[in-house]
Every structure is written in C-alpha cells, then in structure tokens.
Amino acid sequence: MTAPSGGAGQRWIGRSVRRVEDARLLTGRGTYIDDHPPVGNLFHAAIVRSPHAHARILGYDLEAARALPGVVGVITGADVARHSKPFSVGVTAPVHYYCAATDKARFVGEPVAVVVARSRYVAEDAAELVQVRYEPLPAVVDPERALEPDAPVLHETVGTNLANNRRLVYGDPDRAFRDAEVVLKERFRFPKYGSTPIETYGVIARWDALDGVCTVWSNFMGPFIMHPLTARVLGLPENRLRFIVPPDIGGSFGIKSLIYPYIALVALASKLTGVAVKWIEDRREHLLASSTGTDRVAYRELAARKDGTVLGMRFKWLDNVGGYIRSPEPGCSFRPTGNFVGPYRFQHLEVDASTVMTNKCLTGPNRGYACGHLYFETEGMMDRLAATLGLDPVEVRRRNLIPAGAFPYRTPTGGLYDSGDYPAALDKAVQLARYDELRREQARARAAGRYFGVGVALAVDPSVSNMGYVATALDPQFRAKPEYLPKSGAVDSATVKVDPLGRVLAILATTPQGQGHQTIVAQIVADELGSVPEDVTVVDEMDTFTRVWSISSGTYSSRFGSVGTSAVALAARKLKAKLVAYAAHLMDLPPDSLEFRDGAVRPKRGKGPSYSVKDLAGRAHWNTESLPAGMEPGLQATAVFGFDVARAVDAEDRVNSSNTYGFIAEIMAVEVDPETAAIRILRYVTVHDAGTIINPMIAEGQIYGGALHGLGGALYEELQYDEDGQCLTATFMDYLVPTACEAPTIEIAHVVSPSPLTPLGSKGLGESSSMTVPAVVANAVSDALAPLGIRITELPITPSKLHAMIQKARKT
C-alpha cells in the first residue's frame, strides 16, 4: 500500500496512496475544535438540561448560580424565546422548535438554560445551582401509543403527535395485490441508535456587537442549508454570520449535521453575555441529546407470483423523531424515495409514511440515513418470500433484479439509477462466499443439531442527496401553490491554482471527518496536471466567508466520492485548458494542435517545444503582458459541479432523491450458541459497486467502518427509554459500542460500473454496508433458527431476547 515511486505520467487514481492527513493525526498535531482556541479570553458554557421527559417550565431561580464566583451569565429558555426565532421545520405542522426549551421540555436532556463561566468546572458547579421549576406531565415514548387518542400530546399547537403523514402511490399497488398468488405480511421494529463519534459536538461563538457579526467555530459538517436557517433564527443577515470549521473533525457519520441548534444556543449565549463562549458536549449530553436515527415500526406487505416474481409492495411506517421534528427530518422516511424499490424490478408500490413525535431525543441523519431501515424490511420480506415458495434466497433475488442492460434505469418512484450490473455483483458475492459450500456446511451442522445460518442482503447504495427529496414530505397540492418554491440540487465546488513556482493548491468547501479528502484530491489533481500527490497541497477548512459554497454543500450522504471529486476534476481540467491556451499563444500554434501530457503542454504530433506547468506558471504570474488578449490573469480555476438529474419532486411524488447509485451484495454466515444464544459471525462477504474507485485503501476503510455501524445497530446499540421517558443508556457502560473483539473479519470485493454522470466515473461509498448489515445479520440469524420457526423482525438481537425466543419456540 505504499505510494509508488516515480512521478509524472503515472495514474494515481486507483491506487492505495498513503494518506497525507496521517502524519499530523498520528503525532497529536491534529486541530480539532477543542484543541486550539481561535480567539483569546474564552469563557466556557455548561448546559442545564431537563431531567423530565415532559414537563411544563414554570420558572427559573438563577440567583445562586449567578452569585458563584467566576460566572459571567446565565441564559434561559425565556431569553431564547425573547431573542431568537424557532427553526423552520420540514413539514407544515406548526411545531415551534427553538434551540432550548421555552414553554415545555419534551425530552430528557433538552437544554433549558446555559451557564457561562471562567472554566468548565465552574460552569458545571453553577449549572447545578440553577433551579428550574417544572410541572411534570405524562410522557409517551412509543410511536404507536403516541397516536392513540388518549396519549399525552407534546405540542398543543399541533394538537396531535403526528407531525406528518404522506401516502405515496406508484403504479397500481391494489391491482398488484389483487393479481398476486402470494401475499406476505410482516411487522418490523428498527431501533433508535446513533453513530456516537468519539469526538463530541463543540461550538465556539463570538458575537461582536459593534460589527454586528457573529463568528462560529464548530465541528459542523453541513449541510450548509443550516447556515441560512440559523442566521434567520438569530436575526442576522447571512453575510453577518460566519461558520468556520476546524481542520480536523473527529468523526460524524451524519450525527454532526445536527449540531446547528447548539450553534444558535452558544451564539445567543455569547450575544447575551458579551464574551466569547466555548461549549464542548460531554458524552452524557451526547447520548441524551445529540441525535440518532429514528426508531421505526413498519408494516410490510409483499405481493408476488408463485415463480417468485415480486409484483408490488406496501410500506406502512411510523418513524419516531422524538420531541420535535427537526430538519432535515422527515428525511427518515423520504431520503430513499428514488430507491424505495431497491435493486428490484417491481413497479407497484404504496408507501404510508407517518412521522411521530414522542418524548425521546431528536433524530436526523445517521450513517445510511433511512436505508438501514428500508433494507432491513425489504430483505426480510425477500427471505420470507423465498421460504414461502421453497426457493433459495439468492435465487428469489436473482429473479427480481434489474438486469444489467437496463441502465440508466428509471424506478417507479423517480430514481434514476445511473449504472450497475447487479446480477454480476451478486454472482461475485456468491462465488467469494462459496455459497454452495456454506449451504452444505449448514446441512451438516443442522444434522448435528447446530444452529448455522446463511444470510443474504442486497441494496442500492444512494449517494449525493438531491435536496429536492425533502419536499416529498409535503402534499402535492401544497407544492402546486404559486408561492411554493420548488427545491432541487446537489452541487459542490473546488478551486485549483498554480503558484508562481508551479506548485498546486486545491481548495475545497468540504468538511471531512476522516474520509481523507486531502489525499483523494491530491491524487485527482496529480493525474489531471501530470504531477505527484505530494506536490499538491489541499485545503479543506470550510469557512462560509471565503469558500465557494451552496446550500447543499457539506460532507454528508456519501457526497464526496461523487460530487466533490467531480468539482475537483472539472476545476483541474478548466485550469489545464487555460494552460493549453496560454502555451498555444506563446508558441503561436492553434490550441487544438496541442495537448496537456505528462505535466507539460506539447504538440499532439511530432516533436517540438513544450512548456511545463512550472515554466508557464512563472511566465504567467511574473509577466502578465505575455498573456493573450482577453485572458484573465492568474492561474486558477473554480468549478462548481451540479447534477442535471437533480430535479424537484414531480406532481406524482416521483423524485430522483440521490444522484449516483451504487450497489451492495452481502452474504453472512453465523452460528447461534444454543445454550447462551450468543451469535458468532463465521463469514462475512461484501461486494460493492461504487463506480471508479479512486483510493482502494480509503474505500475499504469506509466499508469496514460502515459495516461495524450496521453491526452495532443489529446486535449491540440502542438508545433505550423507560415508559416515563427516562433514558437508560446515557453512558458508554450501557450504550454498547462494539469493540475490536466484536468486529467481524470482512472479505471485500468490487465490481466497477463507472457512473456516466461524473467526470471520473466515481460514486459515493461513505455509508456503504451500514445499510445492509442490519438486514444480512437478521437474515442469517433467522436462517440459523429456521428449524425453530424463528424469524428476526426486531433489532438489536440481544442474547437475552434471542434466548427468550428460542425458549418460546422450543415450548411450542
């Protein structure tokens, strides 16, 4: 995996180039939000949080806290209500979501006040002295219970706990179910879990009253749509609110997109106390009140013919978004709209998606956003179909796959799958896993009374969300109103410049959290400009005042491998074209007789003079007179790449919710200990098609990490609450993050179907197996316990729960 020797003329894309980020991170010289104060004289915040799941706030007693030496101020929900506005939410229900509780607290851990003091120690001392008077109210945590008529209502202005409901119909599902020879129904439950990055949230805010500018440093990863939303909440024009992201972020996996309410809260604390304020979330705060994916109750129906052909499906979802529906929810339901059908051909689908508010902490994107839920259910149904028809699970899937020749493929829900060869990827997984041998081993194991199972799961892996999908949550009649502004888009920008000595600098508007953007960009630019990665410097510290960005900017929804890399390639090509035009002028030759090759502009045919990048850079910078008439001085190019296929949702609720679509095929073998119900993973094979792979080492790192997040949700991780809404998992003793001993060995292979939509043919890969592992584990365990008639429909599968299922099955 070493960087190969040699230089110009080699291809760097496709190689496991060592990461340029590593030297600083390995030596303790990373710069994370908590490391180096960007401003002097910082004060520290501690947040007072609700101990109640649901309570009316009657008043505050702040004297004791304010009197503590070292305290400079205390702000409460009352200040928040007075000095800020609620955030816009993604639905029409009148939910007033402020950055702290103003009238009622609606989940344990909701911010109710902020103390600002000389040190965090003193701030925490003072936070304990803040007295908040509450009137506790009955709580509700289960989404089905929350919709019963006598359930406590969280938001009186809404009048119900149902934040949103959409019934989406594609094709003629009723006919599909009438025509079916087989109809299957199942109920599923998906757990509430979050990726808990090891670095928690951190915000530093300085509100300069005289300039009217608020500067915020935070480990926010975007989307930067949250910048205008936050500016509006704070009553600031957008060009008076500056977001700066530090050079290093300690992981996110979607979770840090939900830091924005804290940005507003800390900014307000700075405004009202008149000092620069720093807040670093602690682990208990993170587990109580940052963000997780939704817990979901799903009712699934599948209509099929006896030969295994799926005709249609019905999805009924209750997604639990916690105390408030916080943007970008209800993306929990609609993010995969374009790929609702997954890799299958069926045309008829009904989706009934409800978003429910209960007294749990709030939700948002978590690695695999909504897709872990989707494929857990769909792949569970495919296995049920196989079992019902006596077909092999691989075979029943093969009979329904979109064929290789069908791309680009338009799904009934509006998705445009850009490229792929799903049958080939599935075949590769079958071969790599030696599937037939696993089945023979299973037969031998079963004969010996052992519980050995093989699971299969497939997924279409969407990358680069089209902002337009969010509007699927809204009624088409609402979207048809003249005052409604349609939404679409997925863009990213990059600037590439050559300095006077010929070295290259690339500037991004991304917010990497460990994905190695600097390395990847250095590889791309080195290829485009005939250089070597070590000679390319990449800057990725997002700053809303200096970077070229748009509201879809940020590092989320597996964007970088697709849209970010495209912007870089285009910027480099733009610059290359300028270098060719300049050299043509110097050589007095027509530009189309020249080409850029091996780091220099040369005649396409024959020998002749050539101009290296270094030579051109020196001349262009030092002697602008040498430029052709009309050429802009300087050697830089900025490209903004956007997808034409990112369109607004149409009147029939069809939307291409992402822009590039990869594919995943996985096979897992497990054995369940009949005595302890412990699950042991024996084999795990995953095959990915993400188009062109730029750095295989980094790509595989994403797959390993994504798979372990999926495994967490499948077997270990769940944010649990009691019936009163008290969180039972507010420590890392109780919220179980898998360790190295729980991590399986993974066999990875790739199929490459380059995307026709991106200049490099690449697609995103960041979420990867996080969306398939819950399904493949559930299917493998179900298969192992099939002799007992056990099917896994709820996660996580804990040994205690599985033991109870085994005991029950043995009794009946």
């Binding site: 090891i198 670095e199 972020i249 080492m697």
Partner: protein
C-alpha cells in the same frame, strides 16, 4: 485561589510543572495547563480510551485520574512517540495499514497498542483484538488497526 496544588511531572522526557485544583482531571491538565492537546477526551468515564497515556510506562486512562495523582510521575503522550522527525514504527504501521480515519481515537489507540506490544511482543490476532478492545474507534471497523498492530509487532523497534 488558595486551594490550588502544584503538580510536577515528566512528560515525554521533559520536566513540567503546573498549579491546579485537586479536582482537575489529568487529561484536562495535560491539554489545558501543559498545552499537550494530542491526548483526547471522548467520554470522561473511562470507557472509550481516547485519553489513554503511559503512566510510568503503563497504559492508563487520563480522564479518570486526577492531575495531582500524577505528581512525580513519568508520563508519555502521543506527542512523545515520534523522534528526530521520524515516526515511531507503530505510527508508521498505522499509516501504512490505514489504521486511522478521523484520528480522534488514534492517540489512545497508539498508547494502548504500545503497552500491548511491550507486555506481549508477539501477540496473536485474538490477543491484539483483546488488547485494542480497550479503545473505541467508530471509523475503521478496527480492521486497519489490527493489521497495523500485527505489522508493528513484526517490525524492528515496534515495541520500543
């Protein structure tokens, strides 16, 4: 303030001194008072291991120890691994085998792995997994870390 205590210790071979409240956590003292921000805070209750340092040569959690308890001790933090502008063989192995992504757990992971290799210079894969299970990583799925520690165990000087 009257109730401050003074703390003298050697960190990465250098004598350091500071004054702090007795309740100050060692990790906060390292980061805030000594400016050694390479050691990270991830949970403050001894589970995630991001704050792991070497205390008198042995891996320990600096978030569940008081700074005053380290008075007179010899500490090593991630900043002390590389020497003379060269990465430690263990760091080199982490780079070579993609043993890190975001880098946040990495300081704790390195110090833990170093202790593991010193107590067990030729660990099996199962022993490496058990050793590094002391530190939580959410990026890598641990595969790259396992490969890196295995490689470092075979490299000359990997356990120095």
């Amino acid at each position: 303030m009257a109730d401050l205590v003074s703390v003298r210790l050697r960190v990465n071979g250098v004598e350091r001194e500071g004054r702090c409240e007795p309740r100050k956590l060692l990790v906060d003292f390292l980061r805030e008072d000594l400016g050694l921000t390479g050691t990270h805070v991830g949970c403050e209750h001894g589970i995630c291991g991001a704050c792991t340092i070497l205390l008198d040569g042995q891996a320990a959690r600096s978030c569940i120890m008081l700074a005053v308890q380290a008075d007179g001790a010899e500490l090593m933090t991630v900043e002390g691994l590389a020497k003379d502008g060269k990465l430690h063989p263990l760091q080199e192995a982490f780079r070579e085998h993609h043993g890190l992504q975001c880098g946040f757990c990495t300081p704790g992971m390195l110090m833990t792995a170093l202790d593991l290799l010193r107590t067990n210079p030729a660990p099996s894969d199962a022993e490496i997994r058990e050793g590094i299970s002391a530190v939580l990583c959410r990026c890598t799925g641990y595969q790259g870390i396992l490969n890196a520690v295995r490689a470092a165990a075979r490299a000359p000087g990997g356990d120095r």
